[in-house]
């Protein structure tokens, strides 16, 4: 399968500080790639580089088109939906308005897509008139994912969707992500602290440390690697 997203020798910078030192990452079309690593390793920075939110060098190619020198809003309109760290919902707007914004770069009425999202996340339908800020953490994460999917993206970029959520909620959210991925034929690039859960669902995995990719391969191979088991899986 051809990759839908390819990063080659990508460096990223915060001001003069180099946070990524030339990394190679791929996401297969219809596949799910997970980035593992400690806090501050450069996982979030990798996602930001893809979406043009940090200055970067090297090649980032999405569906055959170079993403560099494109603005974040152009990249979004090309079909890359990014659910950022901390979810990035519009807390002062209603659930329904958040979803409408997800469909901003799509032509036509968002009604059908919205009905589909309410099917995946029935709780959002109950709360459609409420302000997003009044939702629980798990509901806000669902809203963030639903809003991203409203864009009908080809690539869904998720930054720690489990952050701050109870284990049961995390499992529910990952089950939905897995289902949506198959039904909507959307590829996923995921950053996740919960390594065992992520490796179960993903097909490719990369281990990032201090701005370098230190291990990569199929999720299966990485979860069998004794060193990774010890450091990230805890058994």
């Amino acid at each position: 399968m051809a990759p839908i997203l390819q990063l080659h020798a990508v460096k990223a910078f915060y001001g003069a500080f180099e946070a990524l030192h030339g990394i190679d990452v791929e996401v297969e079309d219809g596949g799910m790639t997970v980035l593992l690593g400690a806090n501050g390793a450069g996982k979030t920075t990798t996602l930001r580089a893809v979406c043009g939110m940090v200055r970067s060098e090297g090649d980032i190619v999405f569906a055959g088109e170079a993403l560099q020198r494109r603005s974040t809003e152009q990249i979004a309109a090309m079909g890359v939906a990014h659910v950022p760290e901390g979810r990035g919902t519009f807390v002062g707007l209603t659930v329904e308005e958040n979803l409408r914004l997800g469909a901003y770069s799509r032509a036509g009425k968002p009604h059908d897509a919205m009905t589909r999202m309410y099917g995946y996340f029935p709780i959002l339908a109950d709360r459609r008139r409420q302000q997003a800020g009044a939702l629980s953490g798990g509901e806000q994460q669902m809203l963030a994912i639903a809003r991203a999917l409203m864009m009908a993206p080809r690539l869904l970029v998720l930054d720690e969707p489990s952050f701050g959520l109870a284990p049961r909620v995390v499992e529910a959210i990952f089950a939905i992500i897995d289902r949506i991925r198959r039904e909507q034929r959307v590829s996923v690039l995921l950053v996740e602290q919960n390594a065992s859960l992520a490796l179960e669902l993903a097909d490719q995995a990369y281990l990032i440390e201090t701005g370098y990719v230190v291990a990569s391969g199929s999720a299966k191979a990485l979860s069998d690697d004794p060193q990774i088991r010890r450091s990230y899986l805890g058994y």
């Binding site: 979004a76 519009f90 914004l101 809003r147």
Partner: protein
């Protein structure tokens, strides 16, 4: 009692004008964290444009509409040319730019139109209504403000572009991730604020007479109204503006000489900042560092 009600109504009329300008201030503050000190002078300049059109025998309401369009475009150009370069500069730099704009518009108006007071026509006849409780002119000013507020409400609430502007003001990073061009939203926001300000200028000019310094006091009252409403709340700005208008009129009638009325605004600013820094409707601003 009759005098009291009279003063309340006439206060509501001037309050409506302050509310419009306060709304323009709040719109820009929400979108860019910036108080546009030039908002008043921009409105004054717009009013001169309307004055020129009226003098060129354009019917009043046509001149009014045309002025709003010109102000909208002018506001967008100002954002693009003058504000955009200091977008990421320290806030003090941006504030100085707006003060510079204030001086430029003031001087430009003085140079083009001189500092002589000009009479500006009112579209509304000055007839007493309801046993002289209020004049038809007051009623007209209040009606124009209400219509403008209703249009803005519909725009921000029900149109996609209005929704995108709210999103861009609230969370620019997330808005970009939704594919919203935040820069364009800011440009449109400045255009709208300029058009709202122009409405305030045209409504106030028949009362104050038109001159380049006309909006100085009005801006101070509007700023007080915006602050009273909590600087981040559009509804608060409108209610704050009305409260300021009524307070100003009542205090000027009963307590102090009307020449001292402007101090009411300053006293209100101090009271708000001391006792309720978030205003009536504002939310506390917490910055994460």
């Amino acid at each position: 009692m009759h005098l009291f009600l009279q003063q309340v109504f006439s206060g509501l009329a001037s309050g409506a004008i302050y509310a419009s300008l306060a709304l323009a201030l709040v719109m820009i503050y929400r979108a860019t964290d910036l108080v546009n000190f030039a908002q008043g002078e921009m409105a004054m300049f717009s009013t001169y444009i309307a004055w020129m059109l009226v003098n060129a025998a354009v019917p009043f309401w046509a001149a009014f509409a045309l002025t709003l369009v010109i102000s909208f475009i002018g506001g967008m150009i100002i954002e693009r040319v003058v504000i955009r370069p200091v977008e990421n500069a320290p806030v003090l730099a941006a504030v100085v730019v707006t003060i510079g704009l204030l001086l430029i518009f003031n001087a430009l108006a003085g140079w083009l139109f001189t500092y002589t007071l000009q009479e500006f026509p009112s579209p509304f006849p000055d007839r007493p209504l309801f046993g002289a409780l209020l004049t038809s002119r007051d009623l007209g000013v209040i009606a124009v403000t209400l219509v403008m507020l209703a249009l803005l409400f519909v725009f921000f609430r029900f149109t996609t572009i209005g929704l995108a502007m709210r999103a861009a003001a609230q969370n620019p990073a997330s808005a970009r991730l939704c594919g919203i061009r935040v820069g364009r939203m800011l440009t449109i926001g400045w255009g709208l604020a300029a058009a709202i300000g122009a409405t305030a200028g045209i409504m106030v000019a028949p009362i104050l007479f038109l001159d380049p310094n006309m909006m100085g006091g009005v801006l101070l009252y509007a700023f007080t109204g915006a602050l009273l409403g909590g600087i981040t709340s559009p509804v608060g700005a409108v209610i704050g503006g009305l409260i300021v208008g009524v307070t100003e009129n009542l205090v000027g009638t009963y307590l102090i000489a009307s020449q001292l009325k402007l101090t009411v605004a300053l006293i209100l600013i101090v009271i708000v900042l001391v006792f309720r820094p978030n205003g009536l409707f504002g939310t506390a601003i917490v910055r994460r560092v």
